[in-house]
């Protein structure tokens, strides 16, 4: 029998504030609905208990500044840990697919973390992906992010990684947080075209999303030949969502799940906690478990008519042509601390809405024909005048890029306060504070 693994972790004692959308009540009605339906009694459903992630598994993927100890991570580590539990179950073939129905979410959390933004502190899916690569040697992974918001954190983490295909379908960044995810964002110099963003018109509805999946997203996923497919299953495309306006139904979500066929789905956003979540979560679970979800009908009906029809198809076909026509353009830099090779320079500025501050970051990517290339990120939390450095030697790094990473660490530990060396190649993380190595966080154990 095809088993579907589920971890239901609603974090009933955790919130970002009493009136915050990310509050205790968020999955309360989902629990009522799913437990009342008896979904956990389906013979093919296997419920797992939540896990707690080791901080080492986090640091392999995300650098946390000024130090992990400065953040309240308990709830986040459980959301991550639960995703990893299902990852293990998948790799051990205990389950055919799984759904981490967990809070808090993670897809806005990027490669460098100074705090909480877009309700996210740790990136559940990204940490899971690198865990599967490090522990099980998984090579190629595709992420389809169906949250209504652009999965900017996940994109940031894998922007230079040719072995992770990141696709995000979301409401246009011109009309919605976080204001990114345009068709011009297609990946870094060594990973061009490993990122696909599909910004949608508000109100596009089931038909539009399904059309995009069938004619654009899934053909790209299939061409990539991933070993594992992850779905960042945000639920805020629903017609009752208070923050967005995409007009998708719960049954639409069932169909979306059926088309993506994710090995693992991880809950992301979705804040229509009464009108949408109980029904969408049920539809996703039933779709994963191979059950009929056609009876999942919300009590409310959509107020706006979905756009649908020729208008949507024309829009999407045009967008696809535009996206395919975007060519790369790079700035090169030769700063004194950079080792040999060509280095592409990128700049970004990120606003942490939850904690209200800004991060500025300068990224240097070693151009490489053999691997994803070593990446240097120099980050700064503006309000606090705090700085941090992340050096990432990627999975399957070539020897030149690996050496470049070590050279960078040697140089920068002399001048910078906090330096994190994320050595994905050797599955090791090293951290220096004022030139002193502080902890390796026992990643190898």
């Amino acid at each position: 029998m095809k088993n579907t693994g589920v971890i239901f972790f609603p974090a009933f004692d955790w919130s970002l504030g009493e009136l915050h959308p990310e509050r205790e009540e968020r999955l309360l009605y989902t629990q009522e609905q799913i437990f009342e339906e008896g979904i956990m009694d389906l013979p093919q459903i296997r419920q797992y208990s939540p896990g707690v992630s080791h901080i080492g598994d986090v640091l392999r993927t995300q650098a946390i500044f000024p130090s992990p100890k400065e953040h309240h991570l308990d709830a986040h580590l459980i959301a991550v840990g639960s995703s990893l539990v299902l990852g293990d179950a998948l790799m051990k073939k205990e389950i055919a697919n799984g759904f981490a129905l967990v809070r808090p979410p993670g897809h806005h959390s990027g490669a460098t973390v100074w705090g909480n933004r877009g309700f996210c502190t740790l990136n559940n899916e990204a940490i899971l992906i690198n865990y599967l690569r490090a522990k099980y040697g998984v090579k190629r992974i595709a992420v389809v992010d169906t949250d209504v918001h652009h999965g900017d954190g996940t994109q940031d983490i894998f922007y230079h990684d040719p072995n992770v295909l990141f696709i995000s379908i979301h409401q246009d960044g011109k009309t919605l947080y976080p204001g990114t995810g345009f068709i011009t964002e297609k990946g870094g110099p060594n990973a061009w075209d490993s990122v696909l963003n599909i910004p949608l018109l508000p109100g596009i509805g089931d038909e539009g999303v399904i059309y995009a999946l069938e004619n654009w997203i899934m053909p790209r996923v299939e061409a990539f030949k991933p070993d594992v497919i992850i779905n960042s299953a945000g639920q805020d495309n629903h017609f009752t969502d208070p923050l967005a306006s995409m007009n998708v139904t719960a049954r639409g979500y069932g169909k979306i799940t059926e088309l993506i066929k994710p090995d693992l789905a991880v809950l992301e956003g979705g804040y229509a906690i009464e009108g949408a979540l109980p029904y969408i979560n049920m539809a996703i679970l039933l779709a994963l478990a191979g059950e009929d979800y056609s009876g999942v009908i919300e009590p409310q009906k959509p107020v706006d008519k979905e756009i649908g029809g020729t208008a949507v198809r024309t829009y999407l076909n045009g967008l696809k042509k535009q996206q395919e026509a975007v060519d790369p353009y790079w700035n090169y830099r030769n700063d004194h601390f950079l080792p040999g090779g060509n280095w592409v320079y990128l700049e970004k500025s990120t606003y942490y809405d939850t904690d209200e501050f800004k991060e500025n970051r300068k990224d240097y990517i070693r151009v490489c024909n053999h691997c994803g290339g070593t990446v240097l990120s120099m980050t700064q939390k503006l309000s606090a005048f705090q700085k941090g450095v992340l050096i990432r030697i990627p999975f399957e790094a070539c020897s030149q890029c690996e050496q470049a990473g070590y050279d960078l660490a040697e140089t920068l530990t002399k001048s910078e306060k906090t330096v994190v060396l994320q050595n994905q190649l050797r599955n090791d993380v090293r951290i220096w504070n004022n030139g002193e190595e502080v902890s390796t966080f026992g990643l190898k154990n």
């Binding site: 239901f8 972790f9 609603p10 974090a11 009933f12 004692d13 955790w14 009493e18 009136l19 509050r23 205790e24 009540e25 309360l28 009605y29 629990q31 009522e32 609905q33 437990f35 009342e36 339906e37 008896g38 979904i39 009694d41 389906l42 013979p43 419920q47 797992y48 208990s49 939540p50 707690v52 308990d74 709830a75 459980i78 009464e274 109980p278 049920m282 039933l286 059950e291 009929d292 009876g295 999942v296 009908i297 009590p299």
Partner: protein
């Protein structure tokens, strides 16, 4: 203090004890007549000389009456009417009984989404008027534990139209899970008459013997309730609960231990954590029926002292069935009991016959002492391995219980040190082997053979009151009793709600006629309800328990 009487009706034997001031006065074991549980219980009471006993505090019965009737499919059919609304298809889950689905839908907060259809009501009534005798009827709506409106409506309609009809409502079993609630309601109403007849005849038999002591029935959750207050379906699986309680009554430890009760046909395995028996996260399953009957986390293994040892493909194997008693006590097939007797790990049964039993498993040229010894050890090892694996599974199940709060996950304690408390006829035989296999101490219980009856006699009453309160809609509900009422308190009652539940529990305790000095409070969860950036009320979940346990300890 007077005497306590305990009767445990098992698959093969029925155990009986009389306990006075912590001492066992009389104990006995009589064969169970599965076709006549009542006469078995009465025979056990007679064995204890019930008519001569003065001053009996209570008689507790743990019986397989309802369990057997369900498993053997001897219960009458029930007309099951469902209001499933939308959602998952009913056919997604295996329904062991047929049902009729009516229109009408509620949501997770008990709001009416779609009204019921009076035409369907009338058609059902008309149909029921035609049939005789009237079928038992169970009505269950999805989310009836949040709002019983549809169930009450149909019940009232049928009462008017078909007054003689017996109707049971799912909202009386107010736990979340429509599927289990439906099947539990079904079984309870189906078992009603059987159980009622049993209690009447038992009380009559006791009266004839001049005994008027209160009679209690053991439940699957390890607690007891007075005969008149128990729901028949709650009496299922009391046997394993009796095993756990029996071991607790004979253990002086407040520590954590695994209980292994090796019976003739089955071995029950339970878990005690810091002196409290572990409850199962899920309702009990009986036959094809998944229920929401609370039970202790117990594993019942089809392996025991009388399990048949057979040759399969030239290998000695342990069957998961029994073919009569052990060879050494007059049976026809070799069993672990014979192996244990041959190894002198017990003096139960005839040594010569035990040896004979083992010889039947070996070719003639190998029937020498060394080979017999090896064979006997092999049989004990097979039995030990099966039990050890079940222990490991149970521990794993406990360690991987679902958790829904950060606090629970961060503080989940799963590094208890365990010893093993062994009871039952086969216990001495595996004491050493199991200790070695599980790398822990094994302790034998003194009155192993009547452990379950001791558990029944010494069991405390239990009850739980699980509250679900929605202060916005001003409705409160109690899971265990199905009570639904109007909340008149404030929108954000905070601690007030704990007092409310405590008072409610205490008045119910009085009406149940049980003693409960140790009402335990669970942590209450408060969910602020937010609408348009304002808190408009709270959903509060909380519970109070009279936890399971034993009245005292057996002294030797």
């Amino acid at each position: 203090m007077g005497s306590l009487i305990g009767i445990d009706v098992g698959g093969t034997y029925t155990d009986a004890v009389r306990i006075t001031d912590g001492h066992i006065d009389i104990k006995g074991k009589i064969p169970t007549n599965q076709d006549d549980i009542l006469s078995t219980v009465i025979a056990a009471l007679d064995h204890l000389k019930i008519s001569e006993s003065k001053d009996i505090d209570h008689i507790t019965v743990s019986t397989t009456l309802v369990t057997n009737a369900i498993v053997q499919n001897r219960l009458p059919d029930v007309r099951l009417v469902l209001f499933p609304g939308s959602g998952m298809k009913l056919s997604a889950l295996p329904w062991p009984v047929s049902y009729t689905a009516f229109a009408g839908e509620l949501d997770y907060r008990g709001r009416v989404v779609k009204e019921t259809d009076i035409v369907e009501f009338q058609a059902l009534a008309d149909e029921l008027k035609q049939v005789s005798p009237k079928p038992l009827t169970a009505i269950v709506s999805k989310f009836s534990h949040r709002n019983n409106i549809f169930e009450e409506k149909l019940a009232a309609f049928l009462k008017e139209e078909v007054p003689e009809l017996t109707v049971a409502l799912g909202s009386q079993y107010g736990q979340t899970n429509f599927y289990r609630r439906s099947l539990t309601t079904y079984l309870n109403v189906a078992a009603g008459e059987l159980f009622h007849r049993f209690t009447e005849q038992l009380l009559q038999a006791l009266a004839v013997r001049g005994c008027h002591a209160p009679v209690r029935v053991l439940k699957a959750d390890g607690g007891v309730l007075p005969l008149a207050k128990i729901r028949p379906v709650e009496s299922i699986y009391s046997g394993p609960a009796a095993s756990v309680l029996g071991a607790m009554a004979q253990s002086t430890s407040e520590k954590s231990y695994v209980i292994v009760d090796v019976g003739g046909t089955t071995t029950d395995i339970g878990l005690v954590l810091s002196g409290s028996p572990l409850a199962s996260m899920h309702g009990a399953q009986i036959g094809d029926f998944l229920t929401n009957v609370r039970s202790l986390a117990v594993r019942s293994l089809s392996v025991g002292g009388d399990s048949a040892v057979i040759m399969e493909d030239g290998e000695i194997t342990l069957a998961d069935y029994r073919l009569g008693p052990a060879y050494c006590i007059g049976g026809h097939v070799p069993t672990p009991t014979d192996a244990i007797r041959y190894l002198n790990l017990s003096d139960y049964g005839d040594y010569a016959r035990a040896k004979e039993a083992l010889m039947t498993l070996l070719p003639e040229d190998q029937q020498h002492t060394q080979k017999l010894q090896e064979t006997a050890l092999h049989i004990v090892a097979m039995m030990t391995e099966k039990i050890a694996q079940a222990i490991e599974q149970l521990l794993e199940e406990w360690k991987t219980e679902p958790a829904y709060k950060v606090w629970e996950v961060i503080h989940h304690q799963n590094d208890f040190k365990f010893f093993i408390q062994l009871s039952g006829g086969g216990a001495p035989g595996i004491k050493v082997a199991l200790a070695r296999r599980m790398k822990t101490e094994t302790i034998l219980t003194d009155h192993s053979e009547v452990s379950n009856a001791i558990g029944a006699a010494m069991a405390k009453p239990t009850f739980s009151w699980t509250l679900h309160l929605d202060t916005k809609f001003r409705i409160y509900r109690i899971e265990e009793t199905g009570e639904q009422g109007c909340w008149t308190g404030p929108k954000k009652p905070h601690r007030l709600v704990e007092d409310f539940l405590r008072e409610l529990a205490q008045s119910h305790i009085a009406s149940l006629g049980i003693k409960a000095d140790d009402l335990e409070k669970e942590i209450f969860d408060y969910f602020p309800l937010v609408e348009n950036y304002h808190t408009v009320g709270q959903i509060i979940r909380g519970a109070m328990h009279v936890p399971p346990g034993v009245i005292g300890r057996i002294t030797t």
